[in-house]
Symmetry: C2
């Protein structure tokens, strides 16, 4: 595809990860990527490959995921139809939601826009924010698909104390699935929790996360919260960044990709180049 | 079954109505009643018929539903097993949740207790409270099974005004599926709404509700909220209690039976007798 004949399109979407084997296409299994790419192919009448901000594991959800793809200018204009009553952005959202109706509401397209060619859903982000929902009370049938039910009593105060000072630049080697040659250095912008009537939300934001990093951090935090591990356990593991058998992953179903933040569109190209240089080519799973 | 050889048991439970064709047993269809009665039969080794506080339609959920059933004293004691490490109430909750695990978490037993023989889950309640969830913003894939998505813009202020003065004793004939000989007089204890970040909750409580009454009231309220009907429409329909073609039922999936309130156990027998005299025998569907 010739760059000069295409528009780069950013699409924001939300999904319930329950019915899917994660984001990334896997032969013979239903995935979010496969559903979205098939939907785009239907409405654009061209094969479409999308690039995603955060590859989510099986069972993980998204309140606001971001993807980009390149669409031929002719196809883009064709989206408006003969009557040209609405701009292509609006037509794409509406038509894509239409064809995704067969996903029974599990995937929802929120917005679409033309962005600079340098915009890269995966390499341009400044920050990704995740939310992890924990229920420590009576199991709730209505929220069971997106809330982790922890049976042993948790001290939310202990948990809040445990993470109060964890912010900034660390080697997360103790909390990452290792990949040869890939760095495990990340900058954590946020790690805190709030307690609502319905659940405990653990919030994490970072420039990027290694594979399994959010679930490993929450898993360790829960172990401190229920007394399985002593207070200070997370700091200790951060000080000794070695992946070992201690790691417990919090279940995927409690995890929601909350938002992805990009620099202004003037800055995105620069940002993508910097990130690519720092993390590629080995860290394909580290978003 | 001889009353003297049985215990009357009250069971509180929650469920996600999505996978079921409502509460009441229907041949060949999955229902909550059928699943619960089958579970009780398995753990008690006797056939069990349960009576429910609020028969919910297909797709309607319950945060706290109440049922009663009669259990032979021998079977009740047997629940404890040979080691008798826990009381039968606790054993029932735990074992019933165990056999209901095959419902994939959609039904959760919250509590069980022995109550006076005069307790009747259906006829003893003082009040039933329902919550109706409406989303008027971006559709949310995670809450889609228990939130009604209304497309046209709603004025929550207009809706709150509309119901501000609706409380007390009315003939709800305009909002009830008619049954020959059954009264449509009810006392509404609560009808208000609150707006959260996630949705609008409409709350309704009454001594009892006729069939479809909650969904018909919410349906009418939504029509006022989006301007399809003029303000004052609900009062007008209450003043002229005739069921007609104007009625729009709000979709079942947004409705949650929130709680059922009973009088003190000293009073329940009296209350059940009074209610039965007032409503039975024709109003089988009016809970």
């Amino acid at each position: 595809m010739n760059e000069q004949n295409t528009h780069r399109i950013r699409i924001d979407l939300a999904y319930d990860g329950t019915p899917y084997h994660g984001w990334a296409t896997q032969p013979g299994l239903p995935t979010v990527q496969e559903a979205v790419e098939a939907g785009l192919a239907t409405i654009l009448r061209q094969a479409v490959n999308v690039t995603v901000a955060g590859r989510t594991d099986a069972g993980v959800h998204a309140a606001n995921q971001v993807i980009h793809c390149d669409v031929e200018q002719t196809q883009w204009q064709n989206l408006m139809g003969n009557r040209r009553t609405r701009p292509p952005e609006q037509a794409l959202v509406s038509k894509l939601n239409g064809v995704l109706a067969r996903q029974a509401g599990a995937i929802r397209i929120l917005a679409a826009e033309v962005v600079p060619q340098g915009f890269d859903a995966r390499f341009s982000p400044i920050s990704r924010q995740y939310r992890y929902r924990i229920n420590n009370g009576t199991p709730d049938p209505l929220t069971r698909h997106f809330t982790y039910q922890h049976r042993r009593p948790l001290s939310f105060e202990t948990m809040a104390d445990e993470i109060a000072d964890i912010q900034g630049f660390y080697d997360f080697g103790s909390f990452c699935k290792p990949r040869a040659g890939a760095t495990t250095l990340r900058t954590l912008h946020r790690f805190d929790l709030d307690v609502t009537q319905e659940c405990v939300n653990v919030w994490l934001a970072a420039d990027a996360f290694c594979h399994h990093m959010v679930r490993a951090l929450v898993g360790a935090l829960v172990q401190v919260g229920d007394g399985t591990r002593p207070q200070g356990w997370l700091q200790e593991r951060l000080a000794n960044p070695v992946r070992d058998s201690h790691m417990m992953l919090a279940p995927a179903l409690g995890l929601i990709l909350d938002s992805v933040t990009y620099p202004s569109y003037d800055e995105v190209t620069k940002r993508a180049q910097q990130t690519r240089a720092k993390r590629a080519p080995t860290c394909w799973s580290c978003d």
